[in-house]
């Protein structure tokens, strides 16, 4: 139980079937377990790894692999992603074949409608925890606010925004 690899695997096996709305909805629980409970890294490193995963190609869920890598190397990276992907994938596989039978059922729509406010609350929690960890000073807070406005009001490419923010940080305009 004390092996970080075992602990991470168990954590992500649990998380897999709770991730309604994808990786970002389980981010607060990942942070709670990895940072606050087990002290595997600090909140800034957690936020930096999240940012790194965001900048890399592939599914959002890759942040899990990066956490696994940081805590337990190559084995950690592979085991954590397998643990978080396997249960939800098996469920999808089983449900996909019978989906047409209940996709228009009233209970199915009620469940989806009811999950939405919870998903919104989880995503807002993720955002709040990340912002708390990444707002090291006023300029970084302004950068987060500015990028949010930019993303809400324009169709600018995400990679351009991330690259621009990294350059602003590197040359010392923010941070």
């Amino acid at each position: 139980m004390n092996d970080p690899l075992v602990r991470l695997s168990l954590l992500f096996l649990q998380m897999s079937l709770l991730a309604f709305g994808g990786a970002n909805t389980i981010l607060p629980e990942m942070q709670r377990q990895v940072v606050e409970q087990n002290h595997m890294m600090d909140a800034h490193t957690f936020a930096a790894l999240f940012a790194l995963a965001q900048a890399a190609p592939g599914p959002n869920m890759m942040v899990v692999s990066l956490i696994g890598w940081h805590v337990a190397g190559l084995g950690g990276a592979i085991l954590t992603i397998v643990c978080v992907v396997a249960p939800s994938s098996v469920l999808t596989f089983l449900v996909a074949g019978v989906w047409y039978r209940f996709r228009d059922a009233p209970w199915r729509k009620a469940v989806q409608k009811g999950l939405l406010p919870v998903t919104a609350g989880l995503l807002l929690s993720s955002a709040a925890l990340l912002i708390k960890a990444t707002t090291l000073d006023l300029s970084l807070g302004l950068l987060t606010a500015g990028v949010t406005v930019l993303l809400l009001t324009t169709k600018v490419h995400p990679m351009l925004v991330l690259g621009g923010a990294a350059v602003l940080g590197a040359v010392g305009v923010v941070g």
């Binding site: 930096a48 790194l52 890759m62 228009d104 807002l124 987060t144 606010a145 990028v147 941070g175």
Partner: protein
């Protein structure tokens, strides 16, 4: 229902083989900078024409309903539709292989250079922007709830439970979900 059931659709098409499924999702994985779903749609609907736009939307609807990463679930559902369990595994491996390798490479570089002042500062900027992405996504998801007091109360309750009280998700989520589903079903038509 005008649409034929799932089982019939899957037998109507010859569809891609195992290798095709693998390479298709491999391309989706490596190209998916800043959002994989648009690439998945483009690859499967426009370029390879495995699915019609409606079929893709249908599969996406299923995958958004279930837990897990949307695109990960899409790969499983599409792979399974054409080639059963081996197809699902091929799609999943194709999708994940390159991103896992890339992320491990980036992780190794991060561990090596994180202490350098320039890298530290670049990451401070990058992380601040990444936070903004999550905030934007959450505001977009929450937008349709505006003016629906019960739904907004549930969102606030979820935020307080998870971000403020820091309750464990495996305990809080089932309770919040059950209350939300029942309350909206009963009181919001």
């Amino acid at each position: 229902m005008a649409d034929p059931p799932y089982a019939e659709i899957s037998t109507q098409k010859s569809g891609p083989g195992i290798a095709g499924i693998f390479t298709g999702f491999f391309m989706v994985g490596v190209r998916g900078f800043g959002g994989v779903l648009p690439w998945a749609r483009r690859t499967m609907v426009e370029e390879r024409q495995w699915l019609t736009a409606t079929e893709f939307a249908e599969i996406l609807g299923l995958c958004q309903f279930l837990p897990g990463g949307n695109i990960i679930n899409v790969s499983v559902a599409v792979g399974a539709r054409f080639r059963g369990a081996p197809g699902a595994v091929a799609a999943l491996l194709g999708l994940m292989l390159a991103p896992v390798a890339i992320v491990i490479g980036l992780g190794a570089m991060y561990d090596q250079f994180a202490e350098q002042p320039v890298v530290r500062r670049a990451f401070a900027g990058l992380a601040a922007a990444a936070s903004a992405f999550v905030l934007t996504a959450s505001l977009k998801i929450a937008a349709p709830l505006r003016g629906r007091w019960l739904a907004m109360a549930i969102t606030v309750a979820t935020f307080v439970a998870i971000a403020v009280l820091r309750l464990p998700l495996p305990l809080a989520m089932p309770v919040l979900a059950a209350v939300s589903i029942l309350a909206l079903w009963r009181f919001e038509k």
